[in-house]
Amino acid sequence: MKHCLKVRLYWILHYALLALFVVFALFPLYWLVKVSITPNDLLYSEGVRLWPSHTTFAHYVSVLRHTAFPLFFRNSVIVAGATSVTSTLIATAAGYCFSRFSFTGKFLIVGVLMVTQMFPLVMIVAPIFRLLSPLGLTNSLTGLVIVYTAFNVPFATFLMQSFFDAVPRDLEEAAMIDGASRFRAFRSIIVPLTLPGLAATLGFVFTAAWSELLFALMLNSSSDASTFPVGLLAFVSKFSVDFGQMMAAGVLALLPVCAFFLLIQRHLVQGLTAGAVKG
């Protein structure tokens, strides 16, 4: 009887604590959505109400119609998309190499890649600007893609390596004895088996590239080549009164990464332990 009560109390506490965590995690996002659909005239009068008395999509319409956000959005999609594809390609080659070969210098190369995971990126903001500027790669989406790809390749490599490690070597050897070249075995056997992993890597890199702010801010000052984070930050510093529009833009920035999150959340553990460092 006493035991029963204790178990009951434990579960009440368990769920109560979890509820706190859920509220803490979701409330800021909830508020973002709430303000984005609150009409301007209710914003101040109903400031702390949990739900406005009536809602509107006017902020979204004006963000899409009257601001440069569609351009920023497009730029971000291009940069994040190109970065995720190139990073995943390069990381696939390197990850396969680390997973399947042992060679002189492997330890050194892996070590170098690990070090980059602890790298203070602020340290290289200035030199990168000076290096890319004469090459015409500042104020350019290509420049950002190159830089982001370099930043994301180490992490993506470790991630891909962990996916390749999970595919038994026997399968590939069986294919090679069956008459396949290494590349054919890779294409017909390894790729189909690591497809979910490839998708997860794409997602991780896309999210990271989508979220990057400092280098985008430093390298691309012209608004033609601004990414979403830069645009949003500029908007905040210039027109910091139109909260409805800002938050509507924020929700728009959140959508692609949330979609990726749902897609890759099954691989989160592998991803975070492979990098164990990157956010």
Partner: protein, 369 residues
């Protein structure tokens, strides 16, 4: 089908030697079993033949053509893996077809071959299943099928039965042997299980420490082992190996007495090379020893009796050493009972203490160097 010739093959990983000079002639259509403890190099040798690892020195020929430099796909061999290595994302049919399609075989012929093989192996009803929907024995058959369907020059088996339970293993052993007798394709089979080696092989290669210890037909290895390692490895229960001394006082000229402790085991012909110290290892198979409750013979004490169903293994102590006797008689001895052993001198094999080499009698020594 093909003959495989292996000459002076060595394999090193960095400074570690895994294979230290292997010579082996596999005849066309022969079933060879490589057997040895784990780490003896048997799987490495198989992988060198398959082309999955690089040969450090030496050469391998298939049908008189050196294949050292050929990629696995150019060697036209088939391999059955311990893990089966079935492609998990393909159905059984696609697994069987994969190797054929890589060779550009026309679709109709491909279907015919797949059909033939699946009938032979009883896979007809399973063709549309994925490997994970199959039992262990079925996977094993698909792996076999994938090897057979291509009609390769030779089959390589890498411990194919070690993931199966005892009963299934016995059955698959039989099926593989049957299939071989039907196809007569050159086969090289790696196992650590000496029963598999004995039952399946035309010839066995016993390997240890990267060296082929002895090559020969199963019965020859059993009856006439070349050294201590082969004597101890082949046979279950294992051969009794006793520390013994040779004493030259047996009366008959050219004979010596084999002693364990203070007990005389038997008088045997003097070996061609007599060890200086007189110390040797004396080997005798557990089933070649007889015993009785009488007083004539070597006195011994029963330590423990194990019943295996078919027979009994008696652990006994004699001359201060432990040994085993195997018998199919229904015996009534118990721990602590005393008995007397009898040994036929012809069943007693002598080995050099240091080199482990067999010490053969003078007359025999000439015939078997």
């Amino acid at each position: 089908m093909a003959a495989i010739s292996i000459k002076g093959v060595c394999k090193k990983y960095g400074t570690v030697s895994v294979l230290r000079g292997i010579d082996l002639e596999v005849r066309d259509g022969e079933f060879i079993v490589l057997v040895g403890p784990s780490g003896c190099g048997k799987s490495t040798l198989l992988r060198l033949i398959a082309g999955l690892e690089e040969i450090t020195t030496g050469e391998i020929r298939v049908d008189n053509r050196v294949i050292n430099e050929l990629a696995p796909k150019e060697r036209d061999l088939a391999m059955v893996f311990q893990s089966y290595a079935l492609y998990p994302h393909m159905t059984v049919r696609e697994n069987l077809r994969f190797g054929l399609s890589l060779r550009g075989i026309p679709r109709e012929r491909m279907e015919m071959l797949v059909q033939g093989v699946s009938e032979k192996l009883g896979l007809t009803g399973l063709l549309e299943r994925k490997p994970r929907q199959l039992s262990g024995g079925q996977r094993q058959r698909v792996a076999m099928g994938r090897a057979i369907v291509r009609e390769p020059k030779a089959f390589l088996f890498d411990e194919p039965l070690s993931n199966l339970d005892a009963r299934l293993r016995e059955q698959m052993r039989y099926e593989i042997r049957r299939l071989y007798l039907e196809l007569r394709t050159t086969s090289i089979y790696v196992t650590h299980d000496q029963v598999e080696a004995m039952t399946m092989a035309d010839r066995i290669v016993v390997m240890n420490d990267g060296i082929a210890q002895q090559v020969g037909p199963p019965q020859e290895l059993y009856d006439d082992p070349a050294n201590l390692f082969v004597a101890g490895f082949i046979g279950a229960p294992a051969m009794n190996l006793l520390e013994a001394t040779l004493r030259e006082d047996s009366g008959a000229p050219g004979d010596v007495t084999v002693m364990i402790g203070s007990e005389a085991l038997a008088a045997v012909q003097r070996p061609s090379s007599m060890p200086v110290t007189g110390r040797v290892i004396a080997g005798i198979r557990p089933e070649r020893m007889s015993f009785g409750a009488d007083a004539n013979g070597i006195p011994a004490e029963v330590d423990l009796v194990e019943a295996t169903g078919i027979g009994m293994i008696m652990h006994i102590k004699a001359g201060g050493q432990l040994l085993k006797i195997y018998t199919t008689d229904r015996i009534k001895f118990r721990s602590g009972d005393r008995l007397a052993m009898h040994i036929d001198p012809l069943d007693l094999l002598l080995f050099d203490v240091d080199s482990g080499k067999r010490l053969r009698p003078l007359s025999q020594g000439a015939a078997h160097p």
